[in-house]
């Protein structure tokens, strides 16, 4: 303890006036970092919570919560059903078809991501010069969605002549989500011990048995993660969908258009967004539990 006293006298830089950023940092009270972190979380979640509160308020457009009601939720559900049955309804907010399309696209993208990641993921860590290949696969992460969207539109429409609509949407969603799915798979696949495949072969397992009984179970967390990323990224995707829609509305696209068009449907958007958020969070927890909760055997 006494050692510090002579030390501070002999070390010369202690006498120099520190630069302002050091004086600033030194002056910050303990816990500033944590406080700042909580601040970010607050900024992120407050609007979502606020939106949820307004979605059960009587006059959401005033921005003042209160007069609690579930009428907007009723409208979201019944407006579509009523109009489908040919009845007139107070609101022409019809979220059923976009919702179904989005769910369908999300499942398709998810499946395609799992299959693609399962094909590429285990091979990539074993390729000799994998650096450029890896960059190639992950590059789409860094291309802005709008730019890629325009590019894909030109390409599909003018060059390879894909039928615009559901197919172009599905392709675009896959292009968008696959790098994330692959990345998730690579985390698991790069740790996969390929000697296990040799051991299985040595014990008499056929190619299919090695794949199905050894590789797939061990890569399970990566498979779940890839599928999960594929689903959520497709379900929430907007920039690509704008260019690829060709008359088809996905849920985010529909909500985006509605929120810009009619004041009367804004409360319904609040309600719909709340529902989507709750279901998304629920799915996320479920996926994490499925992938990692029961995965004690995956870790060693």
């Amino acid at each position: 303890m006494t050692m510090t006293v002579p030390a501070s006298e002999t070390i010369t830089y202690a006498q120099v006036r520190p630069p302002f950023w050091r004086r600033f940092m030194d002056g910050l009270p303990r816990g500033t970092g944590l406080f700042f972190g909580y601040g970010v979380l607050f900024i992120l979640y407050l609007p979502i919570v606020w939106l949820m509160i307004l979605s059960i308020s009587g006059e959401p457009l005033t921005g003042i919560p209160g007069d609690w009601t579930l009428t907007w939720y009723e409208d979201v559900i019944y407006a579509d059903i009523a109009q489908r049955d040919g009845e007139a309804y107070g609101s022409n907010f019809r979220v059923g078809d976009p919702l179904l399309l989005s769910i369908g696209l999300a499942f398709a993208t998810s499946a395609a991501c799992v299959i693609g990641a399962l094909i590429v993921g285990p091979v990539l860590p074993r390729v000799k010069r994998r650096g450029p290949l890896l960059i190639g696969f992950l590059m789409p992460l860094m291309v802005p969605g709008i730019v890629a969207g325009v590019g894909l539109f030109m390409w599909y429409r003018l060059v390879i002549n894909v039928k615009m609509g559901v197919w172009s949407l599905a392709l675009a969603h896959f292009v968008w989500a696959f790098p994330f799915a692959l990345l998730a798979m690579l985390v698991v696949a790069s740790r996969f011990d390929t000697r296990l495949m040799e051991a299985a072969e040595d014990l008499g397992a056929s190619r299919w048995q090695r794949f199905w009984q050894i590789e797939v179970p061990i890569l399970k967390p990566g498979i779940f993660a890839a599928g999960f990323f594929g689903f959520l990224l497709s379900f929430n995707e907007l920039p690509f969908s704008i260019f690829m829609r060709a008359g088809q509305d996905t849920l985010p696209l529909y909500l985006w258009i509605q929120s810009g068009a009619h004041n009367t449907t804004v409360p319904l958007i609040y309600a719909m967004s709340t529902l989507v958020t709750i279901v998304s969070i629920g799915l996320t927890f479920l996926a994490i539990k499925l992938a990692f909760g029961g995965g004690k055997d995956g870790k060693q």
Binding site: D193, R195, L196, E198, A199, A200, E201, D202, L203, G204, A205, S206, Q209, Q213, I214, P217, I218, K220, K296, D297, G298, K299, Q300
Partner: protein, 386 residues
């Protein structure tokens, strides 16, 4: 010379007695020749050891037998009389115990052991019964339901053993199975493997870099170096009759004295080293030739000490005057370096009563040393070919 031995063996014994025949196997990894025209056979029920340092080709040879490696060139490979050159690893009647265990982390101990039966479509009840038998064999029956990561290293290797044995293969291949275990466990497992070999009467092909392990366990040892066979024979052959300086060195002979052959008579060679002539049985691969470089191989435990004024009254001994050098305490014995006019000689002293500071000479019996070719290069035969 190794190949001609194999050929001799083949004509002598009947083919039905040989469970494994590998003829002229060559394997290259790019420019590196891992295996250079090697032929081996194994008798039914034999404990055959492939011994060598890393890069000697022993593991490559084992993997070729298993089918996990496709040789660049091979004349024939037969397991139990059946040519398996075109048959993949999954359908060869042999299984491997790997150094790194390679147990499936997502399966329980029981599921690991049963795997070979599961891929063969054997029903659950029978699988379970046979897995329990196999686990009993390695004394791990109570671990059936355990997870792999709950086991110790020794237990994992025993599970790997049970997993390899359950399909009742014609040959069990063991690739440095004790390499990852600590000293004490290794010795215990050696005994356990020997018991198992005796109990099952199965052919074991065992890869190791440890001469001590090879000597303890094998019926026959094949010593390899740079993709070729240097010497093969029963442990006593390699231990007492090294075919070259390399073999003697690898088998742990402490004293290797270099000289030139002065005379050869009835399998006994005399070698001149400095002002001394040392005699012993010739154990080199080819015939001993007068004037050729040779190496006298004497184990430290064979070197005896003669204190001042005590006459050595035994015929047929080699004697060197000496003075005492450095002593290393080893607990059970002392490693004593003795300085002679032809260089230092190591002796192992068990008798604490010996006064090493009052020595006149060291000596050993002619029958307890080997004179061999001074070859330290690749193959035993390559020097004769040139």
């Amino acid at each position: 010379m190794a190949n001609s031995d194999v050929a001799a063996l083949r004509t002598a014994g009947s083919d039905g007695d040989q469970i494994l025949q590998v003829e002229h196997a060559t394997h290259r990894f790019g420019d590196v020749v891992a295996l250079d025209d090697v032929s081996i056979t194994a008798r039914r029920g034999e404990f055959l050891t492939l011994l060598g340092e890393s890069g000697s080709g022993k593991t490559t040879l084992l993997r070729i037998v298993a089918g996990l490696e496709r040789p660049t060139r091979i004349a024939r490979i037969a397991i139990d009389g059946e040519d398996v050159s075109a048959i993949p690893a999954s359908r060869r009647n042999c299984t491997t115990v790997f150094q790194h265990y390679a147990l499936f982390p997502h399966m329980s101990v029981g599921q690991n052991v049963e795997y070979g039966l599961r891929v063969r479509g054997i029903d659950r009840d029978q699988r379970r019964k046979r897995a329990e038998d196999a686990l009993t064999l390695v004394r791990l029956l109570d671990k059936y339901g355990r997870r792999v990561h709950q086991l110790s290293g020794g237990e994992r290797q025993r599970v790997a053993l049970a997993r390899a044995l359950i399909t009742e293969p014609a040959i069990l291949l063991l690739d440095e199975p004790l390499g990852a275990l600590d000293e004490k466990l290794r010795v215990d497992m050696q005994v356990e493997l020997l018991d198992l070999h005796e109990k099952l009467g199965l052919t074991f092909i065992y890869v190791t870099h440890s001469q001590e392990e090879a000597l303890t366990m094998s019926d026959r040892i094949i010593l390899m170096r740079r993709g070729r066979i240097v010497q093969e024979g029963p442990p006593t052959d390699l231990f007492d009759r090294p075919a070259s300086r390399f073999v003697a060195d690898f088998m742990g002979v402490e004293n290797l004295l270099e000289g030139t052959i002065e005379s050869v008579q009835n399998g006994t060679a005399s070698v001149r080293i400095g002002g001394h002539v040392i005699s012993g049985a010739w154990s080199g691969a080819g015939p001993a030739e007068k004037g050729a470089a040779a190496c006298v191989a004497v184990r430290a435990e064979r070197v005896r000490l003669a204190p001042h004024g005590v006459a050595i009254d035994e015929p047929g001994v080699n004697t060197l005057p000496c003075t005492s050098g450095a002593t290393i305490y080893k607990g059970k014995y002392l490693d004593q370096t003795l300085d002679t006019d032809i260089g230092p000689v190591k002796a192992r002293i068990w008798d604490r009563g010996v006064d090493v500071n009052d020595l006149e000479a060291l000596w050993w019996r002619e029958s307890e040393c080997a004179i061999t070719s001074n070859e330290n290069g690749a193959g035993a035969g390559s020097g004769d070919d040139a």
